[in-house]
Symmetry: C2
Subunit: 342 residues, 2 copies
């Protein structure tokens, strides 16, 4: 079984974006603020956007199941206040839940949180609870920079974030550490901000001792861990300078990387330096890089091909990356699949 642990609803019906634009207009002009109930998306609308896009490509590529969360760049936590984020997160999470009900064999939901810059992260807990308990979400996406490229929140090791971590441990769910759109002109969203956030989050964990406080906490760092595997020697050396334990015990019982690295040499590096148990298959399809690589004739983001072609991973390793690791890191997914007889 092939599980893609990193998919977003990037193809949601146009009505969603139109509603969001009205909501953004409503921030300046409260009389124009739309109600959540004004958004009308039918099951057929949803089916159409999935069947012709993600599900079509999953079937072509041989991916069985995708962990599915709201579009990352549309989370845009920097827009408006907590109320705005809260309404928006509720709408987006409900849509992913509906996708999972319409295609229970192929999509399992992961929640976004109603984060807002300067607002205590614990305000996200009611949405988190609803998503886990009512929608069956098996994980969350946590944005380490709700300001969108200004990095005004404290590091992930700060106690401000602990209420979220307590709830994660209680539910035994991991968080993917995923930023949203950059509103800082220096950072291209998918070409700089995403990768920088991955590197930054990892280094915050190296600097701190978060996993002493939360030995069960699990972070999934997307996009192959940003710059981390490429600079694995640097990170090992920096931990050493800081008199931290070896990375294996200091952070690698708690941090996992996905395989959203869009070429064979990158995937091969990932699997050369990062233990197999820490690598989870993902493509972030349909996402930032939608084209066909002229050097291979295949989609850049068809990451299954790179894993299939790997000479570094054994058949058993590949099975762990495609399925076993993800079931271990997402125990609620594993429980659901077992219930489905899978």
């Amino acid at each position: 079984m092939i599980i893609d642990c990193h998919g977003h609803y990037t193809t949601a019906p146009k009505a969603l974006e139109e509603w969001r634009n009205k909501q953004i207009a409503g921030i300046q002009d409260p009389s124009a603020m739309p109600k959540a109930s004004e958004l009308k998306i039918s099951d057929d609308d949803i089916r159409e956007t999935i069947v012709n896009n993600q599900l079509r490509l999953m079937k072509e590529r041989g991916n069985d199941l995708t962990l599915f969360s709201p579009r990352a760049s549309f989370m845009a936590h920097h827009i408006g206040d907590f109320e705005v984020s809260s309404t928006w997160a509720a709408i987006c999470n409900e849509l992913c839940f509906r996708v999972s009900k319409l295609f229970p064999e192929h999509f399992v939901p992961v929640a976004m949180l109603p984060q807002s810059p300067g607002v205590d992260p614990k305000t996200c807990i009611p949405e988190l609870v609803k998503c886990v308990e009512q929608y069956g979400c098996v994980g969350i996406n946590l944005n380490p920079d709700p300001s969108g490229g200004h990095w005004t929140s404290p590091p992930l090791t700060d106690k401000l974030w602990y209420p979220i971590y307590e709830k994660m441990v209680e539910y035994d769910i991991p968080a993917m550490i995923h930023v949203s759109t950059s509103c800082n002109a220096c950072f291209h969203t998918t070409g700089a901000h995403y990768l920088n956030a991955d590197t930054t989050a990892f280094m915050q964990c190296v600097q701190g001792d978060l996993f002493k406080d939360f030995p069960q906490l699990r972070f999934l760092i997307p996009h192959g861990g940003g710059a981390v595997p490429y600079h694995w020697g640097r990170f090992r050396g920096l931990a050493q300078e800081m008199k931290k334990p070896l990375l294996d015990t200091h952070v690698m019982n708690n941090i996992f990387f996905d395989t959203c690295v869009y070429h064979q040499p990158g995937i091969d590096l990932l699997n050369t330096v990062i233990p197999v148990k820490n690598v989870l298959f993902a493509s972030e399809m349909i996402g930032a890089v939608r084209g066909i690589d002229p050097t291979t004739g295949h989609y850049y983001d068809d990451t299954k091909r790179y894993i299939d072609a790997s000479k570094i991973l054994s058949a058993e390793d590949k099975q762990a990356v495609f399925e076993g690791n993800t079931r271990r890191v997402f125990p609620r997914l594993d429980a659901l699949l077992k219930k489905q007889g899978r």
Copy 2:
């Protein structure tokens, strides 16, 4: 001949740091502001810090020559105003010049600029001119984020930076794009901010068309290009989405990466995906990662070993990485070496 294109004077005499601390105190209390002339560092002081540190390691490792600039993390352009940065840059550049006069076979100077957040970069030109014309600097370090982790300057493709580029083209000198200390708690200086800046600068160039305006402009992106080689497929794919030319022609006639990647698999990846002509040998020694890698028994930052051990590079390729490329990217270095009969 082995040329290390990325060295900083990280071992400068203690008196330098003491003077700087007085200068920082003087920002709040002008009566305490020290004069530049109060800093006393003798040639013997300099000799001692070099002979026992960089030069010793260079000889042990077989590196002949280092392009030597002021300590990157001490540039700290975010501290004080232009006047403060200007005095500080002048002092630091003069010290590197003195190192080069004392050890003309082993060190050639590269200048830092007196950048300051919110101050027009063209104010740096007098220092740049002095460093090239009087000190024989063969390149500059350009900080894309003088705010120190808040990223308040426009992208490097913005016309605000053009006066610096015009001078670089006039003198035919490259710039290493190198940030300084992070004063944003989210970003560890050497474990996140440096690498993020490398990735960010590259992506800014991909987004823009800077090298259409300056076909002769050359940027050296340190630390192996941040996350770029590891995500080479992503960057190729993003350029394709943006309808830019292939990276080879769009940016790779103008952008070069150093080899400050502190483990063999990272160096091998760099040399697998990045053309040999774009890779310049460097170690950033003595720098962020000073320890010995327990898995190899050698210094993490002894990057010459990784190049020597490379099975990807031919003998001719290694010669290009160690010497030829650097002489080509730094024509003033090449002219100097030829004058020295090297």
